[in-house]
Symmetry: C2
Subunit: 149 residues, 2 copies
DNA sequence: CCGTATCCATTCCGATACTG
DNA sequence: CAGTATCGGAATGGATACGG
């Protein structure tokens, strides 16, 4: 009896996170929500996603507490989907994805969308992991301790 | 004629990145590669992934230039799968995933694996996006410029 | 031990029709 | 416009058999 296996019992936070947002569409919906998008039809047209899939993902993201449905601001009978704190916390993840994609998935002069600081209009410097002492970290100077507590 | 649509023509780096590594297993394989794992059987047992799927993902990750197959160090006739520079660059993304998962997907005292700095043995502080001037960034003080160049 | 190939169930996804 | 329902095809995934 095949079928998907849940990773929610895994002790690794990476595995659990991927179980929640590791699919084709969820993070794209979140990305658009960061850009201020909130309406069903805007997600649907903006992403080119099928409506039934969008409906399913919006429900799952609400179940996970990443999005929240609030009454639409335009007075219509419908809803806006807005990020919760848990959803807002995905900002660094989205920026990581964006910066990796920018560096490795585009040809030299290929058109792309850019993330800028509003105040200065300048591009965002590459994020990096640092230790408490400010040392730059990579795989070779870090270590995963298998289990804890 | 249904089926998957490629996002590789998208001008958004987030979309392209998700098209490459936005699935259930690819980043878990990369995570284990960061931990020094390199052999087919180790991935298979360590992840609990079906062998055919693992075989498929290893091929795709090689096609993408994220993993590279090298002769096994133990003198066997087989291969080790090691990260390329493009793959190593996924480190910040994995750390972002891990830190989000740690904060939002575990109960208070639930066992989990932890990422530590080797030298100090201490946990890695939360990564954050900052502007060139050191200002802390979030969705409200950044902006995506639709197209460029 | 390393991987590929095959089988089958489940999931994903796109298209479309439909309700309110 | 917002969302659900249904259909068919494609991709995913687990189990297992098989050859190197």
């Amino acid at each position: 009896m095949p079928g998907k296996i849940t990773l929610q019992a895994e002790p690794c936070p990476v595995a659990r996170a991927l179980d929640v947002i590791g699919d084709r569409w969820s993070l794209l919906i979140v990305r658009n929500a960061f850009d201020g998008m909130g309406r069903f039809g805007d997600f649907q047209k903006g992403l080119g996603i099928a409506k039934n899939i969008l409906s399913d993902r919006l429900h799952k993201l609400q179940l996970q507490g990443i999005l929240e449905a609030v009454p639409a601001t335009d007075g219509s009978a419908y809803q806006d989907y807005v990020l919760t704190a848990k959803g807002e916390a995905l900002f660094t993840l989205i920026v990581s994805l964006r910066q990796w994609g920018e560096e490795y998935l585009f040809d030299k002069n290929e058109p792309r969308s850019l993330l800028l600081e509003k105040q200065s209009g300048k591009a965002i410097p590459k994020m990096e992991a640092r230790s408490a002492n400010g040392r730059k970290l990579n795989a070779s100077n870090t270590l995963v301790r298998k289990i804890d507590r």
